[in-house]
Symmetry: C2
Subunit: 287 residues, 2 copies
């Protein structure tokens, strides 16, 4: 595979709109970079599916982005980062791959006093225990609890991140943690799904003021900057970079639910729809 | 296509486990029939996806069942019934196809005094207004309101059908209906998604005692019996029929979430996993 050029785009994918929180942080730090965002909305969510299926879907999404000649791949989906990162790295080399799990783990370690962490994520992510491994690679003595909170995804998608239903769900998932004695409580809570920043308020309220909420979007964006600088791959243009928003299904829904994640309003006309063809499947499975 | 034989199986599909409520009703009425249930768990949910994508997925599922030489096809998913029934009918003819929308509409009409109906369903189903058309075909003067309640799907999948979170969600979706003056309130509420029977209690409570809850599972099963009798296609064997439970992903999750829908416990070992191959896609798209 040819080495990508510095004026190539950064490719970023997620199962849906959640990764737009990472895109938002990336554009703040790297306004001159071209970015292509792919949301695999025809097959979302990834978080309740099996490792084999998530790996297959992630390979299709990465394959589509590679055909756009990207210079760096960001896996903005925690589930795909937890289940498919190593196989994607091998597959797209020498194009570098940044996931959200390692940056999130590093951020939590740096903000924790007692190295007792709580990871809130999808069922697929928690089953894989990727955050536990990433945190223990930095701090072998760390205590890590991983808690699946599947309903938070649906609440964020419904736009109900800060209402009575979200509060009731946060209390149900997290109520027993707050009621523990202080020494048994985690001191960080990692938002281990890109949908969860939309419920940050109710999560913080349910956990109480002594637990620091850690969000991997901004630390992932910082990791991208570091990597581009190491490789001397920043775009040297002076103009603002181009943004392409691409989805595999449902432009209207993508625009409606995505605007809250991106932090700016956009419409169905701003979305390109694409298909992941059977030829992608053949390519991915031939690897 | 050859005419199916009376000892062939009834094929039934849904995006996931929700259609097991229809399977449950079918087995009660037709204990001697062989039944193959296919849950397309690798691509669920259908209810938030576009009409084109739902039609494609439904064609793949039906195509897989047709290769099992079924004698009748039940589309147990409201979204697929609303968006894909006519194209499936043409495609699988002369095998008869029964969806859940027409039986649900007929049940609502027969139980309503004022012919003012409320349809609770997924976003894709309500956008299509299939229940409105089905009810008006029977009663042109009927008033039909369709209300998307996407979060109910996630609540049912999480097994949270009857707790504080479900109550809060039901109040948020339905609270304003109960507070209307009596003459403006619907007198039936159709559970227009196979997941929703698991939230029947909180839905009934939020709507109040004057609104009759209509569930299409049992009326769909009755429609299957009628159709088999019309075609003289009942299985004449004396032994109980065989049941195959098939999913496209995640046997463990299917078993865990599905048992509540089927009303009996089963394990991952009871599920066959299958793939819907690219050859299915080619066949479906060639139609």
């Amino acid at each position: 595979m040819s080495v990508a050029s510095a004026d190539g785009a950064i490719g970023i994918f997620d199962s849906g709109v959640g990764g737009l929180t990472v895109l938002h942080a990336l554009r703040d730090l790297l306004p001159r970079e071209h970015i292509i965002y792919l949301g695999d909305t025809a097959r979302l969510p990834y978080g309740t599916k099996s490792p084999e299926t998530v790996q297959r879907y992630a390979a299709h999404a990465a394959g589509w982005l590679m055909r756009q000649e990207i210079k760096l791949l960001v896996v903005a989906c925690n589930t795909a980062s937890a289940l498919a990162l190593e196989s994607l790295r091998e597959w797209v080399a020498p194009v570098p791959v940044i996931g959200v799990v390692d940056p999130g783990a590093a951020a939590a370690v740096s903000q924790s006093v007692r190295q007792h962490h709580l990871v809130l994520a999808t069922e697929a992510t928690t089953t894989q225990r990727a955050y536990t491994r990433a945190i223990r690679a930095l701090r072998p003595e760390a205590v890590v609890e991983e808690l699946p909170c599947s309903l938070f995804v649906a609440l964020a998608e419904e736009g109900w991140g800060d209402d009575a239903v979200a509060k009731a769900a946060a209390d149900k998932y997290l109520g027993t943690i707050r009621s523990r004695v202080s020494a048994d409580r985690p001191d960080t809570a990692i938002l281990g799904c890109t949908h969860f920043p939309l419920l940050r308020g109710v999560i913080a309220e349910a956990l109480g003021p002594e637990i620091v909420i850690v969000d991997s979007a901004s630390t992932t964006a910082a990791a991208v900057v570091t990597r581009l600088d190491e490789l001397n791959m920043r775009n040297s243009a002076q103009m603002p970079g181009r943004l392409r928003l691409v989805a595999t299904d449902g432009a209207a829904r993508f625009a409606r639910t995505g605007s809250a994640f991106l932090g700016q309003s956009f419409g169905p006309g701003d979305i390109e729809l694409t298909d992941i063809h059977p030829s992608d499947i053949a390519n991915a499975e031939a690897q």
